[in-house]
């Protein structure tokens, strides 16, 4: 019980800190945060790695709302040695809260994937599936730079049936 209360106090303090930081550096944020960001992701809703694109849709004070899409290819050759890559495409929306440098983020996404497998015989088949993802993370935008890095926890509802704890790391370049 004490731990839970303590955690909430930390979250509240962080939020207040971000808010004051945001106010102090408001003009800085305006100039540095462009609408578009390309990202290179490790882990995350695409699975292993992905190249992504984000676009800030709405901004209200210290809040941003963004849409994101990514794509990943891995395992280019299947178990028979044939070219038959696995593909995953996460598509999501999220909100960012914070100042010019430090931001908290919360996002929801859906990952569509197609994976090579042995379906009904020795010939390579494919399986299409979908995951639901909840993303909670922290983003650091480097001052006087277009680069940002973020780290996040990902709760994945695999095939909308089984829950798996996962995570991700990404770097972004805004323009």
């Amino acid at each position: 019980m004490f731990r839970t209360k303590f955690a909430w106090v930390i979250v509240l303090l962080l939020a207040l800190g971000f808010n004051s930081h945001a106010k102090g550096l408001g003009t800085f944020a305006d100039t540095l945060h462009n609408k578009n960001t390309v990202t290179l992701n490790v882990g995350g809703p695409a699975g292993y790695w992905a190249i992504g694109y984000e676009r800030n849709i709405v901004r209200q004070g210290s809040w941003w709302m963004y849409g994101a899409v990514a794509a990943s290819l891995w395992g280019l050759k299947d178990y028979n040695g044939d070219f038959n890559p696995n593909v995953s495409i996460p598509l999501g929306i999220g909100v960012l809260y914070g100042g010019s440098a430090h931001k908290l983020e919360l996002g929801l996404s859906n990952t569509l994937y197609s994976i090579s497998m042995a379906e009904g015989g020795v010939e390579g088949g494919r399986e299409l599936g979908m995951n639901g993802n909840l993303q909670i993370g922290y983003r650091y935008c480097m001052p006087h730079s277009r680069w940002s890095i973020r780290v996040y926890y990902l709760g994945v509802l695999v095939s909308y049936e089984n829950f798996v704890n996962f995570g991700g790391l990404s770097i972004g370049y805004s323009f």
């Binding site: 809703p45 292993y48 178990y79 994976i115 994945v156 095939s159 049936e161």
Partner: protein, 275 residues
């Protein structure tokens, strides 16, 4: 101070990554060659879950000399390729393999990273798909995880396994390993010509039992056996298979001990080292 730490780390990493496998020094009962066996196929770090048809076939495609398959039995006596003690650690199902029928198990899916597409395979299915396949080694690691009467369980298991081996239209060697002496004796009684490996906790125990029962060899964790002990096993006419080989360093250390078989989780790395 930082520079000292950096230099120590640099040379430490360099030293560990540059250790060489001595291929010229290999001396064993396998024509002085080491057979590269993929643990459950491509090993635990592959994108394919181990013991799936995909992982096993990928290992053969990659050029492995053979594959190790973990074998358990369902409650309706179907031999199933599955590694873990409990289904919940890697699949969408829960409980022991022996608690469920094959009808239920075939719908369980592995959850690998965040994807769930690969199914659990039965041994008869794999045997059917591999019919007429190339000459590779297949190692059956018999995991006797049971939920009722042990004696009845191993009797049925042994009968099913010998039937299965008979149905494998496969030119390569079939090796059978188990931690249970009673089970190996049972198999020996049914099929005296089978190549049986005992899976001991220590080298001394393994050597004693393998000699006493006239087994083909022992399977042991690479960290639990020395080069000299492997030579001692060879002097007693016993083959040695080592497992728990999870990195390049482990592969190199295992090669330098001259076992007959290495069951590795880093298959591609081992194949490159043995070239």
């Amino acid at each position: 101070m930082r520079i000292v730490i950096f230099i120590s780390l640099f040379f430490g990493i360099l030293n560990s990554s540059c250790r060489k496998a001595n291929l010229d020094g290999i001396a064993n009962l396998n024509r002085d060659e080491i057979s590269a066996i993929g643990h459950g196929g491509m090993g635990i770090s592959s994108t394919y879950p181990i013991d799936t048809y995909e992982s096993l076939t990928a290992a053969i495609t990659a050029g492995a000399d053979g594959v190790e398959i973990d074998v358990q039995m369902s409650n309706d006596s179907v031999l199933v390729a599955f590694h873990d003690h409990d289904l919940s650690t890697s699949t969408s199902c829960a409980g022991k393999i022996n608690n469920h029928s094959w009808e239920l198990l075939k719908d369980c899916e592995y959850v690998k990273e965040i994807f769930s597409v690969y199914q659990i395979w039965s041994l008869p299915e794999i045997a059917e798909y591999w019919k007429g396949g190339s000459s590779r080694i297949v190692v059956f690691d018999c995991k006797l995880i049971y939920s009722a009467n042990f004696n009845e369980f191993i009797m049925t298991y042994a009968k099913k396994l010998t039937e299965l081996v008979g149905s494998f239209e496969f030119e390569g060697d079939i090796l059978i390993e188990s931690q249970s002496v009673a089970f190996l004796q049972l198999i020996q009684g049914l099929k005296p010509d089978y190549k049986l490996f005992y899976y001991p906790q220590s080298f001394e125990e393994g050597l004693g039992i393998a000699k006493a029962y006239g087994l083909y060899g022992i399977t042991i964790a690479s960290s639990n056996i020395t080069k000299e002990q492997i030579a001692e096993a060879h002097d007693n006419g016993l083959r040695v298979a080592v497992w728990n080989v999870n990195s390049r360093k482990d592969n190199v250390e295992a090669i330098n001990k001259s076992p007959d078989y290495i069951q590795t989780d880093k298959l591609n790395g081992l194949l490159r080292l043995l070239k």
